[in-house]
Symmetry: D2
Subunit: 148 residues, 4 copies
């Protein structure tokens, strides 16, 4: 990725530890580019569920993904253990943009950095709803401004 | 994605037909956001292999993914049949940026649009190599300028 | 698989055509063994949905998987097109055991044969419920005895 | 699974800890039946690689899967952490049959039990080769007879 250095761990507010799988490696012997996205929504939803902020089965509101992206700096591969760093890059009225760094084992620099944009919607109508209360507080706590 | 219309089929140079799978649907009953990326590299590599431009096992050069992205306009779900439209948005010396539209069944507008950036590298050294010859010609033929 | 020949297409009652994906190939350059199971439940549920026998979102009853198995006779790989043959090997009161053959492209012999056992349950209680009516009729029509 | 109790942890020789992913959950809100197989070959190959017994890229011999199977006793779901118990049920001249139990979080009984049969083959010819030396010793150490 010309012109842009891979970020370090200090750029992320919290981490989830994720194991890789044999089938993550494609024919080139490295983690297939789509697997990174499986790790992104695992990190984001793992955070939300762990904080008691998302009730998959019964909640009135759910988050839907409207945009994602990834830059790949270096290869990862099974059996690497991945540390997914999570921060909130932007928090709008009903949407939140996460920034996620994937670090292999004890690497100081991310092997990949993702963007993951969630919109909070009503489960039935799927219309946007403002992010408020405990959810907003938890997301604000992941913003870089809030970490120091 | 507010402020940007989903593209139509005429914005893509060629199409691959891809079937969906039961496991593509996540707990929300729609195609999980990471599945789109599995369809993107299936469309791109299916094109390259079908044209005889990529020899996975024995080629001296391979394409590595350096950046991907996706905007999600509407939901798709198993058992939809997906028509993946493929064009080349930018062709550099050693890199190519594909634009891919995913159309569900007979929909006129894409449910999602992806960006997929490949760099041509030497299989052993993984250093960039110029895209030339038949490969470059085939990619040029997918550029909008070249379509008439 | 010593001592057992791969079955031919005439052993299956109906077929679903399924496309493969780039990420199906693992580091050995062939379809990973777990992908076969993604194709099995795609074939079974594709049949049920196509026949109007399964309403994923609103049905009172759903099928849960209680046992699966696969024998691998030969390798398949992206970009093969797979023809999944489907038959009912056993139909009990509340359970059905499917036999599924995966044929690559125009191969006469299956590359793999799977067993897939579904139990019909109440969506809420997840207790077994008798398979009856149109569903039973459709499954009976897939039993070898019924095919002529 | 009528007539057969789910095994306990003492029936397995060693354990691998595996994290689940958001996309493991299908529309029924539980781990899709095919994911179990991704965990099986992750546990088996993770063991082999961890012991220095498998060199994916450069080894003269590789293991190919010839038969797999799974019985599902209870549901698992993201974000469960899975403890995969591994034992060798049968060790032949060139083949090995693993028995794998998947335990969710701190459950005493397995949620699923799998069979996974590997044949040791020459990487080039893909013909069976005897399992010998350090590999055989490591596999023998996973046989129930050898554990106590």
């Amino acid at each position: 990725m010309s012109g842009q250095a891979a970020p370090g761990r200090d750029e992320f507010a919290r981490f989830e530890t994720l194991t890789t799988r044999w089938s993550d490696n494609d024919v080139y012997g490295h983690m297939n580019n789509a697997v990174h996205y499986r790790l992104f929504d695992t990190a984001v939803n793992g955070f939300l569920i762990g904080q008691g902020l998302l009730d998959i089965k019964a909640g009135d509101q759910v988050f839907l993904v409207v945009e994602t992206g990834c830059r790949y700096f270096s290869e990862m591969a099974f059996p690497d253990v991945i540390h997914a760093g999570l921060s909130v890059a932007h928090l709008g009225n009903s949407s939140v943009s996460y920034r996620i760094g994937l670090f292999a084992n004890d690497a100081a620099r991310a092997a990949a950095v993702g963007q993951f944009v969630h919109v909070n919607v009503d489960r039935q109508t799927r219309r946007p709803v403002a992010i408020s209360g405990r959810v907003r507080e938890a997301l604000e706590a992941l913003m870089p401004d809030q970490q120091g």
